[in-house]
Each structure stands twice: as C-alpha cells, then as structure tokens.
Symmetry: C2
Subunit: 282 residues, 2 copies
Amino acid sequence: MRRVTSPGEARAARRSLGGTVGFVPTMGALHAGHLSLVRRAREENAHVVASIFVNPAQFGPKEDLSAYPRPLERDLELLEKEGVALVLVPEPAAMYAPGFETWVEPGSLAARLEGERRPGHFRGVLTVVAKLLNAVEPDRAYFGQKDAQQAVLIRRMARDLDFASEVVVCPIVRESDGLAMSSRNVYLSAEERKAAPVLARALAAASLAWDAGERRGDALKRVVLTVLASEPLARPDYVSAADADTLEETMGEAPRLLLSTAVRFGATRLLDNVVLPHGTGL
Amino acid sequence: MRRVTSPGEARAARRSLGGTVGFVPTMGALHAGHLSLVRRAREENAHVVASIFVNPAQFGPKEDLSAYPRPLERDLELLEKEGVALVLVPEPAAMYAPGFETWVEPGSLAARLEGERRPGHFRGVLTVVAKLLNAVEPDRAYFGQKDAQQAVLIRRMARDLDFASEVVVCPIVRESDGLAMSSRNVYLSAEERKAAPVLARALAAASLAWDAGERRGDALKRVVLTVLASEPLARPDYVSAADADTLEETMGEAPRLLLSTAVRFGATRLLDNVVLPHGTGL
C-alpha cells in the first residue's frame, strides 16, 4: 500500500495505477462500516484508493475536531489488510493552503436535519469531497448510508457539478446488538453504550409498523419517539420522516421514505436511519 | 468536428479522443480573441475541445442574457476551420437540471471590481466552469486575460478544489485601433465604436508612466482617468490598480500590477486591462 500526503501526489499515484479505481474517503478511526465500503470497492474496481483526513472545514467551532479519534497506525494496517493500493493522508495545510477561499455550497437539501443543527457542516463536507474526487479521479466513490443526508447531498453534488465518479451508498453496518457503527461510539460511557441500541430498536419498530401497512410519516415518527422514550439516557434531537430524494418532511406516502433520527447520550450525538420499503437503501 | 449537447456525451466523446486535450469554454459570438485561445490550445495539446454556452447563471436579472449575440452556425464554422475536434453546445436544461442547487462559491477575490457590480456573477462563472472541467476533463483550459478577474478566480478555484486541469491565461487580442476584442463590441453604435479605443489608449498611457518609473497605484490610475476624461462618450465605472494575485487595491508597488478599467459607452460596458511589468500577463 502506497501512502501519499497531498492531492497532487494522490493524482499522480492514481494515474499510475491504471484500471478502474474505487475510492473510500474517511476521517479514519476505521470500523467495520468503513471496511465494508473498502470491500465493496474492491469487488467493483481494479484498485481501491482510500483517504484519511479529519476535515476541519466540516466541524463547527464547538464540535469535537480536536477530540476526534486518530488511531492512524491501526487505520493504515486495516486498510493494507483489506488490499487498499493507495492511501492519501494529508495534513490540513495540504488541503487548505493559505488563501483558500473557494467553497462548494449545498442548497436546500442541506437546510434541514444535520445541516440545520450544524451550520456550515455540509459546505465543509462537499468541498472536501469535491477536492478528493478531483485528486483521486475515481470511477466510483463509496459512502455509508449511516450519514444519510451527507450521502444524498454528495450524490446531488456529483450530479449538479457533473463529476465523472459514480456515488455508491452502502448499507449501515451494525454491532451485534444493533448499534450502527460509528467512530463516535468510542465516546460513550459503558452505561451509555448499553443504552445506545435503542436507536436501532426504535427504527426497527417503525419498520414493523410500515410492514403492517402504516405509511403516515407522523405515525411512524411517533413509533420511533415512543421507543426512544423508553430509554432514560436517550435524549432525542430529532426524528424525521422524509422523502429520501428531496429530504422534505412528508406527512403521507413517499416513493422512498428516509426515517432518521439523531439522539444524544450525554455529550455524544448518534445518528441512525432506515430507508423504507426495506432493502431500498439510498 | 463532432457536436454534442450534454456534459455526459462530452465526457464520453472526450475520452474516446485519447491524448491530451486543450479546452476552450466560450459563450459563442466568437471573435479573434477566442480563436487565439483555440490556436494556443491546438499548439499545446493533441486535441481541442470547445464549448458554446450562454450561461444564464452568470447574468444578473437586469443584464443582457436574452440580447447576448448567438450566431451559432457561424461560430461552429469558425471552430471547425480552426481544427476543433469536439464542441459541446448544451441547452440550459442540460446544464441546470430541475433541482439543481449545488454552487461553487468564490471568496474575497470575487468581492471587488466586477464581482461588486455584478452580484452572483462569479458564482455562476465558477459553477459552470467546474461543470465543464468535470465533463471535458481537459489537460489544459484556456481563458482570455481580457476578463482578468474571472481568470484569477478560475485559477484560484482550480487550485483550491484540486482540479487536474492547468488553467492557461492568454493575452488580450485587439482590433487594429487598440480596442480589446469582445462579443459585446457589437452593441456599440458607430460613434461609440469610434470612441471605445480610449480604454486601450488610457492603459497605454499608464504603461508609459510605469516605464518612466511611476509605481504608485494612485498615480497610475490618475493617468488612466485623465485619458478617459478626454473622451466625452466614455463614462468610467471603475479604474483599479490591484495586486494581480490577490486583486487587492494597491497604493504602492506590487510584484505584478493589474491595472484594469470598466467603462460605459451608452448602454454598453467594456472592460480592458494591462498587467505590469509588460509581458507578464496573468
């Protein structure tokens, strides 16, 4: 596995690979969710390129940029084991040179849910993803459904700005008790960790209601909230039932319904979601 | 010369060309300035790709979008004669699909001069150029120095967002009486056309002052304004002496000085500029 530290080096190394490239951009602190993206990329492409970059531009001033876990050596070992050919690990200065001032700005899709609670977050995400796509020139780029709004926004960006790369969104990978894999799960205390699977249970309950014929967004959200309320450590931030394409909140039926929630456990904020009907994905 | 109508077709056709590609994006109404870009692109690349698209996103609500000249058949003939291999001529709907909402936003470089007078103009320019670079994947993209701020902003975007294409800025091409070539020159009445070369004369006078040792931005601007004042039909909008890299107005010496001006003749607004020392260019 070759390691490079700047977008320019990444492009040169990628071009020397030849053949199709699947790209997995990450912030490191890799877990089984990331590795599922790498495996999918390996299946669908001749080579896999990954990146590890805790992108300052997508953190708010009061967020966990400095605390974000950075187990770099372990991450590199995991990527190497998975057969990654090339990894880009840039310093912030290699991504945001002095005088940097050109941003990719999302529109209305970024106004709700995470975007409403984290001003500037998706501008930072889209800008760094645009930079990485331009540097790595992948045939396909892989993102997890866990960050559903991010995935929808990146796909919209790729369409709007005519990026050549196909955006592939992969299913959520879960712990055995249902908790969606996240690099932020390490922040949870033992007690919070025990409580956290309530997110998955709440969404599963709403999925059962869907299976039983319930299509009203409000009713499905109430099911989620009822289950979340059973866990005293869970403080719901939002529960949303939205059209999976437009991210607009829906009262009635949508072709694909994105049921998503953000819940705080102490200082840690966790996300989870399901797209209905089952097996649809983003 | 092959003609395509969508970014996706352009990408497929460009990839089938093989070899290096030089790209000349235009709004049509081609003149000798555009053709100089095509020739330079042909010299430096195996193939030349051009585009003709009057980009609605870079026109303000009160600007000349509908009046902008569109002599398409003539433009296509000119490009074919110059050996262009591929031309993209999209309809607006092929560039801005329903739900389009992702924009490339410039920063402080866009705040002054043209950007200050044309809110949103450079957002429209950068967004369409980003789309075209992603579609055409050129090795080099060619722009004219006549639109100096645009050229500086596009180069900054390419650097900030890690576009693979090299941005090449080519010298201003002038009529025999000095008037900088522009698609908007056709708007001038016969009387205004006779008056318009005063822009070039004013910049030439300032260049002579530079040659004589004058380095103060204010003094050079005064020379420009004095010559402009000699022409009753010329109504100066601005005269600027700015650092050619930062576009910040400079009172004293800059490594490269961009002396630029926008002047109205009736309803027509013309731009011209010179970069000092002579022979520097952008």
